[in-house]
């Protein structure tokens, strides 16, 4: 690519905020890929709306990461001028859209987490993160409601929709464990009240997910082996393709605006 990547000074706070910003950007971008392709106009709008909510969250988080870092980076540089290995999003976010069931299961797994995560983060000792959490929580709550309703209708719908929804659950399940993982960089932030311990959300998350999945006549996998790596930049092959599209304009025409 024509433009070199930026360097990022990943202090614990910068890293923590970038991880959440990358989650929102990558999942938001995935949803934007549905624009003009959704099964119905109504759902086209719903997916784009959720994508824009996530893009808004990403922008606020990147802006805060830039401020915390203080090295002259900004939201655009974080989004457009970091390579795959510098991205810190959950592997779940970069998984391809697949069919509609797969997109909805991915959204459901994440939103069931994000809804609780942002609600808990409203008590963060960091006032900027608490404010971002207050806005994001309402958006995430709606994403959870919307995706939950679809899981029930897909699972308890036709034979084909049931089969597709179950396949998506089976395929994506291994990416859910990463949401609850904590490393040393985050432990201090948790101890000082800047961040919350995601492990504390797991029981509630599982209860929500299991409840909806049961109502949908679907089943959660018994296998509890979990894939990790996104938080430290070890991504699946899919993220590179996603970034090459997301970044192509800024990499080719640095600083281009309209």
């Amino acid at each position: 690519m024509a433009t070199p990547s930026i360097k990022v000074s990943e202090t614990p706070l910068v890293l923590y905020v970038l991880r959440r910003a990358d989650d929102a950007l990558i999942l938001g971008h995935r949803l934007s890929e549905w624009c003009g392709h959704a099964p119905a106009l109504e759902e086209d709008m719903a997916l784009a709306n959720m994508g824009l909510d996530l893009l808004g969250q990403a922008r606020e988080l990147y802006t805060y990461a830039a401020k915390a870092e203080g090295k002259g980076n900004d939201e655009d540089k974080f989004a457009y001028l970091r390579d795959v290995r510098q991205y810190r999003n959950l592997l779940l976010m970069e998984q391809p859209n697949g069919d509609f069931a797969r997109t909805m299961v991915r959204q459901f797994f994440y939103s069931a987490f994000a809804d609780r995560y942002w609600r808990a983060m409203m008590t963060s000792s960091d006032s900027t993160l608490a404010a971002i959490a207050a806005k994001s929580e309402k958006e995430s709550a709606y994403h959870l409601r919307h995706s939950s309703e679809w899981i029930v209708r897909l699972g308890d719908g036709t034979e084909e929709s049931h089969r597709r929804a179950q396949a998506a659950i089976d395929d994506l399940w291994a990416f859910t464990g990463e949401m609850f993982a904590v490393d040393d960089a985050e432990r201090d932030l948790i101890d000082t009240g800047v961040a919350i311990d995601p492990a504390s959300l797991k029981a509630q998350w599982l209860k929500t997910v299991a409840g909806v999945v049961a109502e949908a006549t679907l089943a959660l996998p018994k296998n509890d082996w979990m894939q990790q790596g996104g938080r430290v930049g070890r991504h699946s092959e899919h993220l590179g393709h996603l970034l090459s599209e997301l970044q192509s304009l800024q990499r080719t025409f640095p600083g281009a605006i309209w």
Binding site: A40, E42, Y142, R145
Partner: protein
């Protein structure tokens, strides 16, 4: 997309407290819950609403356009039903 699985719904939005819900369009959805969510996503993206109603389109009984002569023309000659023949004192203000 008019299929038996996603029937048509009429959407009514109330933009402010004190105003009535106004018809703003229609959409296809599998059931009432999904219709409400679709209405939110399609018709309130720019802060248009505080409240949404969705009604199955087939629950609406409509007048027959071919009967509009019988239905509406008799009212056209009754201009005295408009309250324009009264002098309204200034003190009354807006009526």
């Amino acid at each position: 997309m008019a299929t038996p699985n996603t029937p048509l719904w009429e959407v009514f939005i109330r933009s402010r407290n004190g105003l009535a819900h106004k018809h703003c369009g229609s959409l296809h959805a599998a059931d009432a819950t999904m219709a409400l969510q679709a209405a939110r996503d399609i018709y309130t993206r720019r802060g248009e609403g505080l409240s949404i109603w969705v009604v199955p389109s087939n629950a609406i009984t409509a007048s027959d356009p071919s009967e509009k002569g019988m239905m509406f023309e008799p009212a056209e000659s009754k201009i005295y039903r408009h309250p324009t023949f009264y002098d309204v004192p200034d003190e009354v203000g807006h009526m």
